[in-house]
Symmetry: C2
Subunit: 110 residues, 2 copies
DNA sequence: ACCAACGGTCAGCTGTGGCTTACAGTAAGC
DNA sequence: GCTTACTGTAAGCCACAGCTGACCGTTGGT
């Protein structure tokens, strides 16, 4: 249960791209078809397809075929992976700060 | 309270790189000097310096000069930015699922 | 004062990620 | 059955991220 970093890696890499984040954030308001998603972005439709494929591989979105339309929605798996990794990091960071405050109670360096 | 995405973008992009994540994770166990960090990685020392600069710009780490040594430690600012963005995403995802379950009470799709 | 160590910066190369255009496939409507 | 709409895939191009080797400034030791 210590190797949750693997899926988190893909999710982080996927969300590093601005266009991908934009698509992902737009899915917050509900499932959307590819064409509809492509209409709100500056890049072409194929580019959107590729981005969605990356997001899907990272477990961040999930697709459902409906006729010729392909509807994408958020998959919590990827988000959960990031959250788990983040919580793990928080533990280390806090531990680090505990030692820091112990040595330097002022703590004004920034 | 809606534009916390900006700092999160830099933090996500910074943590997308595997080497950078490795360095960051190593800092979990406490502050380390550049040379020490470089010794545990396969890349050269200049590369480590550049990676640390990126992490610092993203608010993920903080440096302290001590003699000729430069000690890096985790800065919670970047982590907090990601967490805020993530929480924002969770809201949308859960809302999405509520509607999903409303339409499909079975909820076995995965 | 000299020397050694540590680390940031520069110049340049290379691999790869993201974009586009063109094409192929499938489902719906008439 | 034919046409139209919607999407994924292939090939290719270009820009940028990441790496290296060399250099420079600074600090500490003797």
């Amino acid at each position: 249960m210590s190797k949750k970093s693997a899926p988190a890696a893909a999710a982080l890499a996927a969300l590093a791209d601005p266009t991908r984040r934009q698509l992902f954030e737009r899915l917050r308001s509900g499932p959307r078809a590819v064409g509809e998603l492509a209409r709100g972005v500056t890049v072409s439709r194929p580019a959107v397809s590729q981005h969605l494929a990356v997001l899907k591989a990272a477990g961040l979105v999930r697709d459902t075929a409906t006729g010729t339309r392909r509807v994408y929605e958020i998959d919590p798996k990827g988000l959960a992976a990031i959250r788990a990794w983040l919580d793990d990091m928080w533990g280390g960071a806090l531990q680090n700060f505990a030692a820091d405050l112990d040595k330097d109670p002022a703590g004004k360096e920034n």
